[in-house]
Amino acid sequence: MSTIVSVKNLYKNFKEIKAVNDLSFSVEQGQIYGFLGQNGAGKSTTIRMLLTLIKPTSGVIEIFGLNLQKHRKEVLRQIGAIIERPDLYKYLTALENLRIFAAMSGVKVSEKKLLDQLAMVGLAERAHSKVKTYSQGMKQRLGIATALVHDPQLVILDEPTNGLDPQGIADVRNLILQLSKEMNKTLLISSHLLSEVELIADSMIIIDKGEKIVEGKVNDLFDPAETIIELKTIDDESMYEKLKQSSLESFVHGKRNDCILLKLHRQQVPDAIKQLVNMDVPILSFHSKHSLEDYFLSLTTGSQHVEALKN
């Protein structure tokens, strides 16, 4: 497996602000690589540097083994990207937008192939509609089509599910998986939605204040068997106290949004339910939430956030 993106000791300062601070990471061929961080962590700045929109203060970026600054055109020819929002020419049709961005990417694509591309993102029937008549989800899908129109090896998507409804999010997620599994593209996806990245990424990096916090395979970074249970009862206050004095005490993790949080391993869940029933806890809802979010928050903002969650 070859390295597609290699970032070494990357810095970007905006006057006094250190937006990216000594960041290094690498993306291997065929991976879906999650780029995680809270808003303002430096994700978009890094992605913009990967796309030559922003000049690094210092550091080395190599893509496809080529130095990005020296081989800008060759590298960009093989990259498709959406940055933050898929902003397109609203007064033009989807087909016209696609044709323009194909030509700007240096490729001549037949009308049929452009329509196929639109069909892939489910927009074939609206190919001749002006983009200003599109919903946010349709624009997002058209943005992905423009990013793919020149058949790039590397696809960079910055917050690809921003502003989408649940169906739109699912569509984009499936499209990303399709690009990876069926078309063997390498994808770098930034998001602050950890649950999204968790579902699709092979590897990921978490950054905070422009610095790498952790990098590795998703499965290695946290215990997938560990789960947070959100328990809703009729009387949370008294039930919370009751649980803290019960045999489940060691699993009580805190309270959040009128829910009692229990931290358990997957195999402990059936037993815990049995005990709750035996204790006559009036359960309204009981569902599992992955611990990645807590893991992420504990990494990026330390105990302050964990305490906030508990409260």
Partner: protein, 296 residues
């Protein structure tokens, strides 16, 4: 580069706002032509009123005076002052508009150099400027020639009047339109430069017009200290030099010399200054854009 230019022109001419300028020009030209067709004599009387103390003009002369060439001159005098606004609408939008729409960052992730992108954008703005002038020439010059016919052209100057023979006029208009293209390209280059700094097109359009208005006022002010110190360096002082093509030399008897230009070196010097301005504005725009972080 040609492929990119075609894309830019496609984008410009697909936007409804592009046609505002063409519509505005057509409307003004037709309004002037209609007014002069039905009440041209009153206008001619008004024009000649300053001279009537020393000259006698009969009706035949006045009829001859009201021809397509004079009408075009009147229209050019009126429109070339307003056209910078129409030019700024497109050139001020060139980069700032893309930044505002968010398409600039998408374009800059494509394998196109920033210099190439800027040159293509500027060339597209230049072609738009030329298109406006061609439409204006067709309507104002050829339209007026069709409606009013042609005859000798009389140019009113502060020193008196001069008469240019019918056959000696048309080339002067071609030269004047060519000069106007350079003058308006200077405004286009200024708007283009300001567009690089902004993230929406209103700012550069207003800034361009403000600069043009302030500079024009300074150019027109009769304050001796400005004549040597400021006026020669303002591009607006040189934008009106197209009129020089209609100022002709006269022989000892006071008869105008066909094919002559009274002060060709001054016209050429003004032209040269405008061209220098264009290169300075364009060069600065490219330099700034190459260094710019695209954060929109």
């Amino acid at each position: 580069m040609w492929k990119l230019l075609k894309i830019e022109l496609f984008k410009i001419f697909k936007r409804p706002r592009t046609y505002i300028a063409f519509g505005a020009i057509a409307a003004i030209v037709f309004l002037i032509q209609i007014a002069l067709k039905y009440d041209g004599k009153s206008y001619i009387d008004l024009l000649l009123s300053n001279l009537s103390g020393s000259f006698e003009f009969n009706d035949d002369f006045k009829d001859k005076l009201l021809n397509g060439y004079l009408i075009c001159f009147v229209i050019l005098n009126t429109l070339l002052i307003q056209m910078p606004l129409l030019i700024a609408l497109i050139s001020g939008d060139a980069i700032a508009g893309e930044a505002n729409m968010g398409t600039l960052r998408l374009a800059m992730t494509k394998p196109i150099s920033r210099t190439e992108y800027m040159l293509v954008k500027f060339t597209a703005s230049f072609i738009y400027t030329l298109a406006l002038l061609v439409v204006m020439a067709l309507l104002a010059l050829f339209g007026s020639m069709l409606i009013f016919g042609t005859n000798d052209m009389v140019v009113l100057r502060s020193e008196g009047i001069e008469q240019i023979k019918n056959f000696d006029v048309l080339w002067r208009y071609f030269a004047a339109f060519g000069y106007a293209a350079v003058a308006l390209t200077t405004v286009s280059a200024l708007a283009f430069l300001l567009s690089v700094f902004a993230e929406n097109s209103i700012g550069p359009i207003i800034a361009t017009m403000s600069i043009v208005i302030v500079f024009t006022i300074l150019s027109e002010m009769n304050i001796p200290i400005y004549d040597e110190t400021i006026k020669p360096y303002l591009f607006t002082s040189h934008m009106v030099a197209w009129k020089g093509f209609f100022y002709v030399k006269a022989n000892a008897e006071g008869t105008t010399i066909n094919g002559s230009i009274e002060n060709l070196p001054a016209v050429l010097r003004s032209l040269g200054i405008l061209i220098v301005y264009i290169f300075v504005f364009l060069g600065a725009a490219i330099w700034v854009f190459r260094k710019k972080d695209i954060l929109t």
